[in-house]
């Protein structure tokens, strides 16, 4: 089943002579449950594409169907609501709120989701997610007292709090050592196995190799789209298989 359907997406910056074409007609379909790596050198347009996929930006032309809904015509407030309900974000620099406990960090997106969950239910869900990413012993730790890997786990738990259909990870292992990176990638694979669609944006081939599909961007176009390449499982075996909460 199709989750993302891009048709001839173009994105220009600037006006007139200074106009810069960043995306020159990208068409792409991503199925539900895929783990996709989006690769490309800087300037290839992968970041722009990711912003468009994350509904943070609007294409100059083209159509973007997310979960069957056309998002290019939405107002910025409607886009914000869509982001809070359907998309989770994981960033290279974690972007946790400083001096705020892991639990409160995870709960933060709920403020904007207008979800039906009560405070108590939200808290229960956040605790469950922290348990899933293996941080049940650090719920009340602040980011400053956690390692990079732990911080990224908090960020992943945060991205899942509103039960998104799509997880966008922008260089999620860029600030981590290789061992912790493997940890995080294993976590992504597990989340993916439980049915979550994940797009990893990276320039690192070893990271990309953990995905089932690699999309290579070059000069604003998709140069290469490879499926079912050899997918190594993450080295670190995990004690329990986290399940995506119902």
């Amino acid at each position: 089943m199709e989750l993302i359907h891009l048709t001839d997406i173009r994105k220009n910056y600037g006006e007139g002579d200074a106009e810069l074409c960043v995306l020159k007609g990208v068409s792409l379909t991503i199925q539900r449950g895929e783990l996709v790596a989006l690769m490309g050198a800087s300037g290839s347009g992968k970041t722009t594409l990711m912003n468009l996929l994350g509904c943070l930006d609007r294409p100059t032309s083209g159509s973007y169907l997310l979960d069957g809904e056309e998002v290019t015509i939405l107002s910025s407030d409607q886009q914000a609501l869509l982001r809070s309900r359907k998309i989770g974000f994981v960033f290279q620099n974690f972007n946790l709120l400083p001096r705020t406990t892991a639990l409160d960090n995870v709960l933060m997106p709920m403020e904007y989701a207008h979800s039906a969950l009560s405070e108590r239910e939200g808290r229960k869900r956040a605790l469950h997610l922290l348990d899933q990413v293996g941080l049940s012993s650090r719920i009340y730790h602040e980011p400053a007292r956690m390692s990079g890997g732990q911080q990224q786990r908090v960020a992943i738990a945060r991205s899942l709090i509103n039960n998104p259909v799509l997880l966008l990870a922008d260089e999620p292992t860029g600030n981590l050592d290789s061992r912790t990176s493997q940890d995080i990638l294993a976590l992504f694979q597990q989340l993916n196995r439980s049915g979550l669609t994940i797009i990893l944006v990276t320039h690192d081939q070893t990271v990309a190799n953990h995905a089932q599909r690699i999309i290579l961007m070059q000069d604003g176009l998709i140069r290469n789209d490879v499926r079912d390449v050899h997918t190594p499982t993450a080295i670190q075996p995990l004690t329990a298989l986290p399940q995506n909460a119902p």
């Binding site: 912003n51 609501l81 997106p109």
Partner: protein
Amino acid sequence: MITSFHRTVRTALRALLRNILRSGLTTLGIVIGVAAVIGTMELGQGSSRAAQETIARMGANNLMIQPGTAASGGVSFGSGTQQTLTVQDAEILSQDGKSYLHSVAPVVRTRTQIVFGNRNWVPTYLYGTTPDFLEVREWDLEEGYCFTDQDVRNANQVCLVGMTVVRELFNGESPLDSEIRINNQPFKVIGVLVAKGANMVGIDQDDVILAPWTAIKFKVAGNSVANVNQSAAVKDDTSQQINTLSQRYPNQSPNLYPAQSLNQLVNTPLIDRRTNCDVIWARGLTGELMPEAKMQIGEILRRNHRLRAGVADDFNIRDMTEQNAALGATSKVMGNLLLGVAFISLVVGGVGIMNIMLVSVTERTREIGLRMAVGARRGDILRQFLTEAIILCMLGGALGIAVGRLGSLVMRWFLHWPTESSLPAIIASVTVSVLVGVIFGYYPAWKASRLDPIQALRYE
């Protein structure tokens, strides 16, 4: 709705607590501003109250009822020359005017030499009056006691002396139970009046002797101000005799009791004390009632004097309204000035809040980007930052009220400055601090809400 408000407040509080030192320093401006407003308003109100009390003690609520002017053949004799006021008038006023007059006292004035031992002195005020005079002037006794109504009825030769008299005649020693001679009549000093200082026109109010009016009138003066102020020869001046009213209010008889007709003697065993006095002093209950009191006194006196409509008053009433108004206006101007300065400091505090909120928006750009990425709408961001600013201002306001109250208490206790707690000041400063929060918090909050989430997320 309630939960979303609750969440907004909680988020804002958390954000403020994350940098508690900065939040504290930011609110300091508002704290100082509000404390200044509260402090100055309390001080202003207190000192204006104190000024009012001082003015009241100086005689602001006092009314002076003087007899009218006598004129003969086109020659006016000036205020108080007609002898129309009687002690009975004063009694009627104190009975009928209870609803707007605090107290009424008739006064017989004279000016003569007093002697004690080898010293002599002429006091500015030698008043024959009733014990109510002390009520009218809000005058207390330093020592001793006041003469009584009984003393007045019996024309007892007792007196109260002011501080200046004590100094001049007794060399500052206690004059109690001493006997002084007033116009060669012995008077026993039974009390000393507390010092009152100069009045509004600079005349020493302590240069005074008070005695029962009967004693002064019939034993010392034997006449009234009308001829005291003029040469002794005036006593037999024809101008006095052609005054028809001098028949009704005999002013030349030093007799203690006016001669009564046979009928009167038979019908009324009571003493007719319808005897003229020089001036009647009265004190109104409050300053606001003064115009009303003046009008009512006029009516009562006209009725009592049987003046027909169209006939001019044979008395005039004077009060201190103008002085009152002038002094009130002065303290009002001072109060407004202080308030203006205090509000300026509130505005400066508000600018401080805006400054820090702008810094905070810049510093938290990535947080704003993140919040937007996870679904915060522009309105959510605006509301959050505005809430932070308002909470800062409200906390600052609350703290400022506490500091201001404390400050005014300290001023009261240690500097003995008059202060008075003021509810309007508290309401005004809370309102102003919230307004400051909204006004000066809006721009940074708006700026935050206009950020582009993509750029905000990449902001380093």
